[in-house]
């Protein structure tokens, strides 16, 4: 049927502009360039690179803009984020938000994870609800369950470093958290899928 309609279009000399769409900003083209470090559709296979596929648009968009203006410290992301305008950041964020979250496949220390469960419940659950599994638009914090432990460790190192900027609401108050507590809670998130 479509073949027939197409034939008519040719026959009566309709302009091709009806089917020749002007190229615009493409969230998938932009997002696909990130895959070399963040995995196909944001499902990272590298331990220090976070899974970003399936995170809320608002979260990714905010993070990219903070990287761009320097209010969130990074090694390479600040340099990369400066390459994109607001519309491009919105498009790539929307692309990643559309993807399914794929939890990292990693080893878990079950005993540490159990201890971490208690620490999470007492300290983190208020914001990172439902054991850190919640993905919600708006100001909600990011999903932690199933995130790479090595990445979260780097993030926590930054939270504890006054010179390393990020907007974590508890930044500056984590100093009392021991390293073993952090290890345990990260094992808990690794155990959650």
């Amino acid at each position: 049927m479509r073949l027939h309609i197409t034939g008519v279009a040719f026959a009566i000399g309709l302009s091709f502009s009806a089917v020749t769409q002007a190229g615009g900003i493409s969230g998938s083209n932009l997002g696909n360039t990130c895959a070399g470090c963040h995995g196909v559709n944001g499902a990272s296979a590298g331990t220090t690179m976070p899974v970003i596929g399936g995170l809320p648009k608002s979260y990714i968009e905010t993070a990219m803009k903070q990287y761009r203006d320097g209010s969130r410290s990074a090694t390479v992301m600040g340099r990369i984020a400066k390459g994109y305008n607001d519309a491009q950041i919105a498009a790539m964020s929307e692309f990643f938000a559309r993807q399914a979250w794929v939890s990292a496949t990693q080893n878990v220390d079950a005993n540490l994870a159990k201890l971490g469960s208690t620490i999470h419940a007492g300290n983190c659950e208020n914001c990172h609800e439902k054991n850190g599994t919640v993905i919600a638009e708006g100001d909600a914090p990011p999903r932690l369950a199933g995130q790479w432990t090595a990445y979260l460790q780097l993030y926590m190192d930054g939270v504890n470093d006054p010179a390393w900027l990020n907007k974590h609401p508890k930044k500056g108050t984590f100093g009392k958290t021991t390293k073993s507590d952090v290890d345990a809670v990260l094992q808990f998130y690794a155990s959650q899928k």
Binding site: R2, L3, S15, N32, T33, C37, R79, K82, G83, D157
Partner: protein
Amino acid sequence: MSNSNRRNFLKAIGGVSVASVMGLGSSRAGAAVKAKVVIVGGGYGGAIAARYLKMAEPGLEVVLIEKNKQYVSCPLSNTVLAGFGKLEDLTFGYDGLARHGVTVVHDTVESIDPQARKVKIGGGKTFDYDRAIVAPGVDFKWGAVKGYDEATSLTIPHAWKAGPQTTLLANQLKSMKDGGVVIITVPDNPFRCPPGPYERAALVAHYLKQHKPRSKIIILDAKDKFSKQGLFTQGWKQTYGDMIEWVAAAKGGEIDAIDAATRTAISVVGTKYQADVLNVIPPQHAGQIAHTAGLVNPKGWCPNNPVTFESTLQKNIYVIGDASVGGAMPKSGYGANTQGKVAAAAIIASLRGVEPDESAYLNTCYSLIAPDYGISVAGIYQVKDGQLIEVPGSGGVSPMDASAAYRKVEAAHAHSWLRNITAEMFG
């Protein structure tokens, strides 16, 4: 649409299902295309193009022709010279691409006929295509350094294609006496992996510092500056003291010839540098098939439309990766990766008869100075006035004088980078 464009358009859709090309009455995302794409070369560019074509259009017939049954990653292969990396961790098979529906053919490519749209392989078989992607990487200009040809490379390694050459160089370093001199010769731009020679010097120094600490490394360079220069120079000094000496072209570093028998590099000004281990990184040009197929400019690289990476010399052939001119992008694995995606998206748009969306180009490249000492460069590119340029004010290299912790994080990222980019190609 002009008449000639219309003719091309009609020609273009000749080989594909008209109904699906037009995509009338459905969104572009839903418009299935029946067509055949043949990809020559299964490295960082070709393998990715194959996968992304199948991801976007599962019904598309994608044939990947690659002579090697296993791919060995050049990125991170200097870690083998350092003694902490293993070649088997950098070696990948093509089963993953086959699982994604790509037809993988292990053979050489004899010829490409752009008019008849046929690719002929060494075994004699011919593959028709609607679109072709040519991703052959680089070949060496044997003889450009006098006395250095393919046969000589079996004793004087280039190790600029990872695999047996990497092992050869690693073994020579292992056999070298303490107090020996390692010479690395570096060609002028453009060449594959601009920071690679300087990472190599660092990682060879890492090996020597532990096992042969009285040894020296001399880099003889055909250039007066190089990629991540400040960072490398700082990192070499911090980590290896005076073990690495870099000789710029202006200081007589450009070599004219080698004498393989005595492992001597002879500079253009006649200075002789005798080595215990001589590593010649030869001048390069696009892989041979690009020459055979009429895809190269007089300098031996493939010019293309930066929006699509379609060759400006042959229609319906897209040249990606190190073989392409590539505008401001370096000849890097990550560059080839994003160019593969640009070509895949452009091919699908052309098969559907729509304008391609805005293309996106990125490069992120890590170098290791030591196991816990990484540095990076990032670049974001855009097409402006027909040129592929860096987005002003973006990208750049790691900061100078960063903390050891910062360098350690970037070293960890280098390994995560490899995991992700190779999983994307072969997973």
